[in-house]
Structure formats: structure tokens, C-alpha cells
């Protein structure tokens, strides 16, 4: 009995914190979406007005398209990048420890510093990237001026910060039994086929979790790049991802209710994408079972 009281007391700060800082705000957000609120006057009930306004908001439509573009391109590239680097640096050899640390390095760099570095790297005229491209005879694109290239530039800078996925892939691959791989080699499988046929199916659950996590957190990860590298979502709304537009709407124009309605849309889209990914993954893994 005394033990139970003490365990409850030890859990209390954490659970209270979760409730006040995450769970209640998550629920309150849905309520806020039905209100007209500018953070200065008390909120007024607005019914479905916010959601109706969303349907006619062109920028909102662009923001959804941008967010989906980001998920479709950056999330798979980050996953493949993490898997590739983990496989490459799997076996301990000379230099491996240093290489692993370097792969993790960009993930440690503060988001603000990382964004400013890429604002410089992607500078169309003086930036190091276009200058390096010029050295090999390529006329680099107008990265942050041209809408398409600005969006691609943000995807590009996010491919470097894959340290967490890299560590998870590394740990998962280390868990794959060496005997199984040797067996595959003896059976005549190439290195690539052993990886594709033995390792990958075994670590598929970890990869799926990584995919889900990266998809969900993409709604946080591209905010600072959009704010700094996209200079607030430009050019021409090309980097106005959903969080960027929510930020401008709420903290710029003080339309908290409207921004909360967008957040509801964000939840909905996240759920939809996760469901699609899950369905695809189930089919993909079934394919593996058939082949085996």
C-alpha cells in the first residue's frame, strides 16, 4: 500500500506534465477550431465557419499540396539514406567509428544554424553549391528564387539530418544474425540479394516505425527550414508547408481559431497518409513472404 502511494507520487509529475502540456492542448485544439479567437478578446463560438473558410482558402490548398510533396519526397529519401548509410557502415573496420560520428553530425547541429548554413549553401550566385557545380561545368539552378527549386532545396537539406534513423537502422541490422547471411552467401546469393531477401524483411518492422515517425514529425521538421530558408514560406508560397501557414495565421494574423481548424486538417491528413503507408507496407511484406 505504502509502495503504491510512493510509485504514484513518482509518476505524478510526469503524468501531470503530459496531461497539461500535450494531452489537454491536443484536445483543446479541436475545440479551438470551432471558435473565433485572437488571443486578446475572449473566444466566441463560430460553429463551422473556420472549416468553411478553409475550403475557399487557396493558400491552404497550396500548403497541403506542399506538405504532401514533402512527405512523398523527403520521407522516403531520408529512410533510404538512413538505411544505405547504416548498411555501408555496419561492419566495424578502420575508420568506421569516425564515419558513423560524421553521419550523425548534421543531426546534432541546431536547426537555426543548419537553416542559415543552407541559406548560404543554396545562395544561387555566391553559394558554395552552385560554385561547386560550376567547377564541373553545370549551371546551377536558382535555388531559392525559383519555386520548384526552393522546395527541392528544403528537401535536400533535410536529407542530411538522418542521424536518428541511421542509428535505428544500424542497431536493427546489427541484430540480423550473421549465420543467416552466411547461409545466403553459401546458397549463392549476391551481397545485394542477401540484403534484400534476408536483412530487409527482418528489420521491416523497425523501418515501418521509422517511416511513421518521420511522416508525423515532418509536420514539425520543415517549419524552421520554411521560416529561414524559405524566408517565411516563399518564394510564391512554394515552401509554405502546413505548419508554416498555421504559424503565420495564428501568430502573425492572430486568427487562432482558423489556425486550429488547419491543425485539425493536419491531423486528418497525417492519419490518411499513415493509413496508406500501412496498407502499402502490408502488401509489400506479403510479397516478401510469397517470394520466400
Amino acid at each position: 500500500m505504502r509502495d503504491r502511494v510512493q510509485f504514484s507520487l513518482m509518476l505524478a509529475p510526469y503524468l501531470t506534465g503530459l496531461a497539461v502540456l500535450i494531452i489537454v492542448p491536443a484536445i483543446a485544439g479541436f475545440g479551438l477550431a470551432f471558435a473565433d479567437y485572437n488571443a486578446l478578446q475572449p473566444p466566441r463560438f463560430a460553429g463551422l465557419a473556420n472549416f468553411r473558410a478553409l475550403l475557399e482558402d487557396d493558400v491552404f490548398r497550396i500548403a497541403i499540396a506542399n506538405s504532401l510533396f514533402y512527405i512523398a519526397l523527403a520521407v522516403p529519401l531520408r529512410l533510404v539514406g538512413a538505411l544505405f548509410t547504416a548498411r555501408l557502415l555496419l561492419r566495424p573496420r578502420r575508420g568506421t567509428r569516425l564515419y558513423r560520428a560524421i553521419v550523425y553530425l548534421p543531426t546534432l547541429i541546431p536547426d537555426m544554424a543548419w537553416a542559415l548554413i543552407w541559406l548560404w549553401i543554396l545562395n544561387p550566385i555566391y553559394g558554395p553549391l552552385n560554385q561547386a557545380l560550376a567547377l564541373v561545368g553545370i549551371d546551377g539552378p536558382a535555388w531559392l528564387v525559383d519555386p520548384t527549386w526552393a522546395r527541392l532545396g528544403i528537401v535536400l537539406m533535410m536529407i542530411w539530418q538522418i542521424g536518428e534513423g541511421f542509428v535505428v537502422c544500424l542497431a536493427s541490422l546489427q541484430g540480423v544474425s550473421r549465420d543467416l547471411l552466411d547461409q545466403a552467401a553459401v546458397d549463392g546469393s549476391s551481397l545485394w540479394r542477401a540484403f534484400w531477401g534476408v536483412s530487409l524483411p527482418l528489420i521491416a518492422p523497425a523501418l515501418l516505425l521509422l517511416l511513421f515517425r518521420d511522416t508525423i514529425l515532418s509536420f514539425q521538421a520543415n517549419f524552421v527550414p520554411a521560416l529561414i530558408v524559405g524566408r517565411g514560406g516563399g518564394p510564391d508560397y512554394a515552401t509554405t508547408f502546413l505548419p508554416m501557414y498555421i504559424y503565420t495565421t495564428a501568430f502573425g494574423y492572430l486568427r487562432f481559431g482558423y489556425a486550429a481548424a488547419m491543425t485539425c486538417a493536419m491531423y486528418f491528413i497525417t492519419g490518411l497518409v499513415l493509413w496508406l503507408q500501412y496498407r502499402t507496407a502490408v502488401r509489400w511484406r506479403l510479397g516478401f513472404d510469397d517470394a520466400g
Partner: protein, 283 residues
């Protein structure tokens, strides 16, 4: 000759390691290298050739100048103020919760782990509006102490999971023996569990300190006065002062990155020796 295929496999992967690994590592290092190179160029002049390599003369003066242009020391002090309060609170709250969860009956343990994983998945941008209103009503706007508040929930459920996992790995007989001797859960946490969890404490201390140093969204929403800005936001101030002075902006970036890298190098054992210890999905 199936046996001969095994050496071939190793030769192939050896080639990949010798050639590909250094190239990939260089690729991951390149952005930092470019920033470092730019920071050593004369400020104000936008040089045509600023790719890599060391410029001549090396403009070390940038590293003095940047502290004069913006009050980086003040911003860093604000960040350190937040870290000094938030990190100890985080360790206590997260290790309490982690210990309690590790001692709960199986069924409840899984419920709390599921709750933690679920909360871990909530992006800040999904809850920042109500959270901002909450902080505003609590009178916490433009106060550095507001940035410490997330420490009250252990900063991130990930740290709680890390402690749970660590305490579960300690043989349960040790706890049982102490309990039979009449020790309370409180004393077991303090005198047995915590001393055995030193690597986890180091990891949570480093990760949470770096988290508060790097954090952008929270200070961006909550801090108004320049004097209260954190190091990360100070970089934005530097950028807004002269948006074309790239050598100086990159110098500021390097100055803000340097402490993080220093802490990382010092704690490298805790990070990379046991990769599973840093698995943010908590298995």
C-alpha cells in the same frame, strides 16, 4: 563451388567500405566545412570563390566581431540559465517516472509505455496554439522561466522510456532484496536504481541540454525581448541585422554549433558505443 562465394562477398563489401564510406562521410561533413570556410573570409566582401579551402588572409577577426555585433554571450547565458534549471528537473522527473513504470505490474507497464510512445509522436506544431494560450494565461510570455516548463514532464517521453528500459535491465532480484530489507521505493530509487543508471543519466543530461540549446519553436513563440533571447534565436537576430554578410552569419552559426559538438565529443561513449541506447523509438 559455393564456398568460394563467401570471400567474394567480403571483398565486395571491403571495396564499398574503402571507397564509398569516405565519400559518404565527406558528403555529410561538407555543409559544416563550407560554413567553416565562409566564416574565415573577410566580412562584408562577397567573394566569388568561397567554396572550400582556407582563404588568405584568414579572417580570424570574425570570431571577435560577431560577439560585438550581437550580444551572443548574453544569448548563450540565457540558454545556459534554461539548461541549468531544466536538465536537473528533467533527470529527476524522468527517472522517477521511469523507475515507477519499470516496477509496475506488466499490464500497467505496457499501458504507460504505450502512452509515452503516443505522446512522443505528437509534433509540437500540432499543439503549439493551445499551449501558447496556456502560457499566455499563466503570465509566462517573454520570461526565460517559461522555456523551463517542459522539464516538468521530463522534457520528452523518450527520456522516460530510456530510464524505464535501463531500470528494467537491472536484475529485479536486487530490488526484491532491498524490499525484503524494508526499503521504500523511494530509497530503492535513490540508493540502488539511480547509481546503477549512470550511463542513462549522462545520456539524458546531454540529450536534454542539447535539446534546450537547439530549440527554436518554443523561444520563437514565447520570447519577445531581445535581452531574453536564447542562443538559437540570437542567430536569427544576427541574420536579420545584415542579410548579406555571409562570413559573419556563418561565424555566428559555428559559434552556436561549437558547444554542441564539444558536448557530443565528450559524451561520445554514451552515444555511439551502445547504439541501442539512443534508439528513439524505445526498443
Amino acid at each position: 563451388m559455393p564456398g568460394s562465394l563467401v570471400p567474394q562477398r567480403h571483398r565486395l563489401s571491403g571495396l564499398g567500405h574503402r571507397v564509398l564510406a569516405p565519400v559518404v562521410a565527406l558528403l555529410f561533413f561538407l555543409p559544416l566545412l563550407w560554413a567553416l570556410s565562409a566564416s574565415l573570409h573577410e566580412p562584408g566582401v562577397t567573394a566569388r570563390r568561397m567554396i572550400a579551402g582556407v582563404p588568405s588572409p584568414v579572417a580570424w577577426g570574425n570570431y571577435r566581431e560577431v560577439f560585438r555585433v550581437v550580444d551572443l554571450l548574453r544569448y548563450a547565458a540565457n540558454s545556459l540559465f534554461v539548461i541549468a534549471l531544466a536538465v536537473p528537473i528533467t533527470i529527476v522527473v524522468a527517472s522517477w517516472a521511469g523507475f515507477a513504470v519499470s516496477q509496475l505490474p506488466q499490464r500497467w507497464r505496457w499501458r504507460f509505455i504505450a502512452l509515452s510512445v503516443l505522446c512522443l509522436m505528437v509534433p509540437l506544431t500540432a499543439i503549439w496554439l493551445p499551449r501558447f494560450i496556456l502560457f499566455k494565461e499563466a503570465g509566462l510570455i517573454d520570461r526565460r522561466i517559461a522555456l523551463v516548463v517542459p522539464a516538468l514532464m521530463g522534457t520528452s517521453p523518450f527520456y522516460v522510456l530510456l530510464f524505464t528500459w535501463t531500470f528494467l535491465r537491472i536484475p529485479q532480484e536486487i530490488y526484491e532484496a532491498a524490499r525484503l530489507d524494508g526499503a521504500t521505493p523511494w530509497r530503492i530509487w535513490q540508493e540502488i536504481a539511480l547509481p546503477l543508471a549512470r550511463p542513462a543519466i549522462v545520456a539524458v543530461a546531454v540529450l536534454s541540454a542539447v535539446h534546450y540549446w537547439n530549440s527554436v519553436i518554443e523561444p520563437l513563440l514565447l520570447i519577445r525581448t531581445d535581452a531574453n533571447n536564447t542562443a538559437s534565436l540570437g542567430l536569427r537576430v544576427l541574420y536579420s541585422l545584415d542579410r548579406t554578410n555571409w562570413p559573419l552569419i556563418m561565424t555566428g552559426a559555428i559559434v552556436v554549433i561549437a558547444p554542441v559538438l564539444l558536448v557530443f565529443v565528450l559524451a561520445q561513449r554514451a552515444f555511439l558505443q551502445d547504439p541501442r541506447g539512443h534508439d528513439r523509438l524505445g526498443h
